[in-house]
């Protein structure tokens, strides 16, 4: 009853080209943003725990997942090197702040992202010839090579004997972001803006070029998309997003990081987010991140509630987590975002079944 588009007529293509053409969706999104903002401002709604242990990492992972989704979901290039790009972003931003006096932190994030984009382009070159799981497996080269460089080149870690860096404090225009709430707001802002940009790219010609290359690259070429440019742009944009996410991961979340924090495990977790959330869906990146971040926490709390011996609980947790992934895929192979969409479609038809 409440989710109807009947009666909403679009009188211009401009209106139809909006990000959310259906009014209820717009309202829902606005409400969500308001809630997201309120979370930071009213400690009643969200404890520092929720902010700094759940929401901040959730947003950061969403951003990284969004980055990977641009590459894998939209441009169809499976990658297992996400964490490496995040590392480049983080260590890049660290070095820019360290070495350029007076470097504004946001600019440093952008520059970190750009360094990641450069690395992305370099490692994206093989994608012109290599496809599918072959490409996926070879992106592991990025993962291992970047981490190796970070451990081997002392300059990158400011000659720290062990390769550990400590992210500088985040200060913008004299204001110091040091409480969970302020960090959360910063991350929220960055993520919201970047998600908006991503959405814009995806609904315009760049996005279409990516999807065309994903769905059928030969045909895309015949239509006049240049494969090389399109793919490399996807690698660059995707790594840029991952790079910024990596910088946030270091600056707004962990604080002190060793290269190991960006290991293969992290790459995989982000890939899981994309696939579970929905390949080729901006919303899916967020849903997937929520699933992978929240589910283990939830299961962990649940297992404690059951008062099982810890080692049993931990193993059961892992098993349930795996089983749920399979379960959701069986229910909807296209991920949570699609499930959500089908839910909406059903709602639209409700109360008539068809």
């Amino acid at each position: 009853m409440f989710y109807r588009e009947a009666g909403q007529f679009k009188t211009s293509y401009q209106a139809d080209n909006q990000i959310f053409p259906i009014r209820q969706d717009r309202i829902a999104l606005a409400a969500l943003l308001v809630v997201a903002l309120a979370l930071a401002l009213a400690p009643v709604l969200a404890s520092p725990y929720a902010l700094s242990a759940i929401l901040i990492p959730f947003l950061i992972f969403s951003l990284a997942a969004l980055g990977l989704n641009i590459l894998t979901g939209y441009a169809g290039q499976l990658s297992l090197g996400t964490a490496a790009f995040m590392a480049v972003g983080a260590f890049g931003a660290y070095n820019f702040v360290l070495r350029v006096p007076g470097m504004p932190i946001l600019l440093a994030f952008v520059l970190g992202g750009l360094s990641a984009a450069l690395v992305g382009i370099a490692f994206g070159l093989p994608s012109l010839r290599i496809r599918g799981f072959y490409l996926a497996a070879s992106t592991l080269a990025t993962q291992f090579f970047v981490l190796w460089c970070l451990t081997k080149i002392p300059f990158l870690t400011n000659n720290s004997s062990s390769g550990v860096i400590t992210a500088q404090k985040i200060t913008i225009l004299g204001y110091e972001f040091d409480t969970p709430a302020s960090k959360y707001l910063l991350v929220l802002g960055v993520v919201a803006v970047m998600a908006l940009l991503a959405k814009n790219m995806i609904r315009s010609n760049v996005g279409r070029s990516w999807m065309a290359v994903r769905d059928m690259d030969v045909a895309a070429e015949v239509i006049g998309f240049r494969l090389m440019r399109t793919k490399l742009l996807a690698f660059a944009v995707s790594s840029f997003y991952c790079g910024v996410a990596g910088a946030l991961y270091a600056f707004a979340y962990l604080g002190t990081v060793e290269p190991e924090a960006y290991n293969l495990d992290l790459s995989f977790r982000i890939l899981f987010m994309v696939i579970i959330g929905g390949v080729g869906s901006v919303l899916g990146s967020f849903l997937g991140a929520a699933f992978i971040v929240l589910l283990p926490v939830f299961l962990n709390v649940l297992a404690h509630g059951l008062a099982l011996p810890t080692n049993v609980a931990s193993n059961l947790e892992l098993m349930v987590f795996g089983a749920l992934i399979v379960f959701f895929l069986i229910v909807e192979p296209h991920g949570l975002a699609r499930l959500w969409q089908i839910g909406k479609e059903k709602l639209r038809l409700w109360p008539f079944p068809h």
Partner: protein, 280 residues
């Protein structure tokens, strides 16, 4: 032509070999595609399933062969009987063993296998000795000499028509007693179209194989079929002996392209046809 009229004159007296009763199909939990389709195929007959693009012909065939599951389609109502037995819960493999084979729309050859290996997979359900296999292969090659020339090529690199022949030949290898054919003439040179339908008729008469064929080439289909069903928007809107359908004015106009004045040149169609829907 005369032969067909004769066949059509026989009424549907025999017990239906395949019967589809009032099936309803939904894709993806929300898209309702078949809204209660019923049809029968008597033993040893050729039945044509006609209808515009998107009417639900392929969906009907996939429902019968239970291939729908793989496409996230659900049969929410109705049942399918084959040889007097309910078959909607069987696996496709069991169906093929019982003698029901399908040629899918859009060719679906195994791209990395050679043409010959493609054909051989068709005989998977039969345990044949080497000479028997050879014999079965030769039969297919006899029908489609072009395949013989290309036998060692990977199917993915053959032309559209060659793949179509390969798909049909592959189904024949299973020696089915009932074949579901989805648009066998698509992309096939006219000469071969006639040959394919000749093969259909041949198998039908010599080996008593029954056919249910979804076909866009209505004129040919009705020429060879005994009965026909016309599907529109997921419903059967017309059924009857093929000859009756062929002479029906509406069918003539919309499916055979002949109006009162006879066949008109494609060049002379001066306006877009506003689709008349049977039940719109």
């Amino acid at each position: 032509m005369t032969m067909n009229t004769a066949a059509a004159a026989e009424t549907v007296s025999s017990q239906p070999y395949l019967s589809v009763n009032n099936i309803e199909v939904i894709y993806d939990h929300v898209i309702l595609v078949l809204k209660g389709v019923s049809l029968q195929v008597p033993q040893g007959k050729i039945v044509a399933l006609l209808g515009a693009n998107g009417a639900g012909k392929s969906t009907t065939l996939k429902t019968i062969s239970t291939l729908l599951r793989g496409e996230r389609g659900d049969v929410t109502k109705g049942e399918v009987q084959f040889k007097g037995e309910r078959v909607d819960q069987l696996t496709p493999n069991e169906l093929v063993k019982r003698g029901l084979s399908q040629v899918m729309e859009g060719r679906h050859c195994f791209g990395h296998l050679t043409i010959e290996d493609n054909l051989l997979t068709g005989a998977y359900t039969r345990s044949l000795s080497r000479p028997q296999l050879k014999e079965a292969l030769d039969k297919v090659y006899h029908y489609f000499p072009r395949l013989k020339e290309r036998r060692a090529s990977q199917a993915g690199y053959t032309s559209g028509g060659e793949q179509q022949m390969c798909a049909i030949g592959r189904a024949l290898m299973a020696k089915p007693s009932m074949i579901l054919l989805d648009e066998p003439s698509m992309g096939i040179a006219p000469q071969i179209v006639e040959e394919i339908f000749g093969i259909v008729k041949d198998l039908n008469q010599k080996e008593n194989v029954s056919f249910l064929l979804a076909e866009q080439n209505t004129s040919v289909a009705l020429r060879y079929a005994d009965f026909g069903y016309i599907l529109e928007n997921g419903r059967v809107v017309m059924e009857g002996a093929a000859s009756d359908l062929a002479s029906n004015e509406d069918v003539k106009e919309f499916y055979l392209g002949v109006s009162g004045a006879g066949r008109k040149s494609f060049r002379d169609m001066k306006f877009y046809r506003r689709r008349k829907r049977w039940l719109a």
